[in-house]
């Protein structure tokens, strides 16, 4: 399934790519990953199995995060998660949306939660999907995805990475690989790869800042600051963010929020919304209807 025709929006001087369809309650999706990775690259395409089916009931919106997909890189070399969260909040404001149903996956689950914690007025509900970045404890990406057996930036490498994220390797279609290769080939994306790798902004700036702010984010969640309905959806067979981490995250939310649900989908790795889109979309539809 493909996305509708893309549009452009100036968001605080960052040219931002986004896709939208449908009418009604707004759902905004935030995908995972981060700028500057050379062996994989997320983009709005990540939600290609969800945007149009959910647009039959709601106004569904996917945007490329700062530095990812086709959106401009962060200004002034601010290659931080804080810049990504700021840009995401600014995007929702620039779109003049009423409070949205925010859906974040993986690193996008962290960004969505942080955005909600800093901008309650923008968010009606939160859905977090397989987010090792947000959940307490450590991620196992570096174990599962260590040193792909193909050169970085090749289709073979991309396919290997996403197949190892997934339960069923067949879900990694040529179309998915092509979408990743398209992003990897964009000159501004290659610049982010240089910044994060050769110029070491990944290890000097991005990761330490994320670690500090993650501590703060978890403290805020433990203090009950989220104050919005929340659901956690987890692919049962994700080896990079295992089920125990989803349970721990759900328990943090549920301590303070009555409207907290936890859903586990079998035979799914890191991307349950791509491996089982019909059931994921059904959970999303019933969730938004229940909150709306």
């Amino acid at each position: 399934m493909r996305l509708p025709e893309g549009k452009w929006l100036d968001v605080d001087s960052i040219r931002t790519r986004y896709y939208e369809a449908g009418q009604g309650e707004p759902i905004v999706f935030i995908y995972g990953g981060n700028f500057g990775t050379g062996d994989s690259a997320s983009s709005a395409y990540t939600w290609s199995e969800n945007l149009l089916p959910l647009s039959e009931h709601f106004r569904a919106i996917v945007f490329d995060k700062a530095g990812q997909g086709e959106t401009d890189n962060p200004k002034n070399d601010d290659y931080t998660m804080a810049a990504v969260v700021r840009h995401a909040g600014a995007f929702i404001r620039a779109m003049k949306l009423p409070p949205v149903h925010l859906v974040g996956h993986s690193r996008g689950g962290y960004a969505a939660t942080r955005l909600a914690l800093e901008n309650h007025d923008l968010v009606k509900s939160l859905t977090v999907v397989n987010s090792g970045t947000l959940s307490p404890g450590i991620g196992t990406n570096e174990v599962v995805l260590a040193k792909p057996p193909y050169p970085a930036g090749t289709p073979e490498c991309v396919r290997w990475v996403y197949q190892n994220y997934s339960f069923n390797p067949d879900v990694v279609t040529d179309e998915w690989v092509d979408a990743v290769m398209f992003t990897l080939a964009i000159p501004k994306y290659q610049e982010s790869v240089r910044k994060m790798g050769a110029e070491k902004l990944g290890t000097k700036l991005f990761l330490p800042q994320l670690a500090r702010e993650k501590r703060e984010t978890l403290q805020w969640l433990n203090e009950g600051r989220l104050q919005r309905p929340v659901q956690v959806i987890w692919g049962f067979d994700d080896r990079t963010a295992v089920i125990d981490r989803g349970i721990e995250l759900y328990n943090m939310f549920a301590r303070h929020e009555r409207r907290a649900l936890f859903h586990v989908i079998n035979q799914s790795g890191h991307f349950p919304f791509r491996e089982h889109p019909k059931r994921f979309n059904a959970l999303m539809r019933r969730w938004v209807e229940s909150i709306a």
Partner: protein, 239 residues
């Protein structure tokens, strides 16, 4: 069509369960009354009561009956939802659960029914006069299982049914989509037991899901009906 199967053993479970326990149900749903002294006999009572292919929604013991019927006659079952099904969940060498150990006597009284319903819940808010009335009326109508029948026939039949169920999960797999719904604060069980029930199902059945409803005990469909039916309907939509 969804068919709702209650749990509970008359005379043994301190609150009198029955079709009334579900509360208001959607139009495409109906309930069955379970009868019999063993899991197999109870399963037959469900089988006789259903017409056509149904999504079976079973609470506690009713969940085990639904799974048993899905093994025996998958052609009659489109999906199974097991709700707070302590009866179907693994329990190996656990310590006794004392939540309902000392009910006020007599068991069928309003005081006793209210006591038990409150004890198995996260909050007493759902235990209305109407529910207590329905439980008292059900208790008066039920033929209580004797302790001898419970020990000699019923408990061994549960162990046999569970053993068969987990063998099928490991070998051929349950042939229909299955989901497990658990209350986050169920005093009769742990979240881990619910997750292990799901793990059993998930071994061979691709379409398997596990859900937790927050601030609910052993009767999540009563305490959080909106969340319960949201999850139930999403599963039906998705399969």
């Amino acid at each position: 069509m969804m068919v709702f199967i209650h749990g509970g053993v008359p005379g043994i479970t301190p609150y009198a369960s029955g079709p009334h326990i579900w509360g208001p149900l959607p139009k495409n749903a109906r309930t069955v009354s379970v009868s019999g002294q063993t899991v197999d006999a109870m399963t037959q009572s469900v089988r006789k009561a259903i017409e056509g292919k149904c999504h079976l929604v079973g609470h506690d013991l009713g969940g085990l009956l639904a799974l048993n019927l899905a093994i025996e006659a998958p052609q009659l079952v489109s999906a199974v939802t097991a709700v707070a099904s302590v009866a179907a969940a693994p329990s190996g060498d656990g310590v006794p659960n004392t939540t309902l150990a000392h009910p006020p006597k007599p068991l069928g009284s309003r005081e006793s029914q209210r006591w038990a319903l409150e004890r198995v819940s996260y909050s007493h808010a759902h235990v209305s006069e109407e529910l207590v009335d329905a439980c008292v009326a059900a208790a008066a109508k039920q033929s209580p299982m004797t302790l001898k029948a419970y020990e000699d026939e019923f408990v061994p039949s549960v162990m046999k049914a569970k053993s068969r169920f987990y063998e099928v999960c490991r070998t051929d797999g349950i042939k229909v989509p299955c989901q497990v719904i658990w209350g986050s604060h169920d005093p009769l069980t742990t979240l881990d037991q619910g997750l292990w029930l799901f793990r059993g199902l998930a071994q061979k059945q691709r379409v398997a899901q596990f859900h937790v409803i927050n601030r609910a005990g052993a009767l999540p469909f009563r305490e959080e009906p909106a969340a319960f039916f949201q999850v139930l309907n999403a599963f039906a939509d998705g399969i």
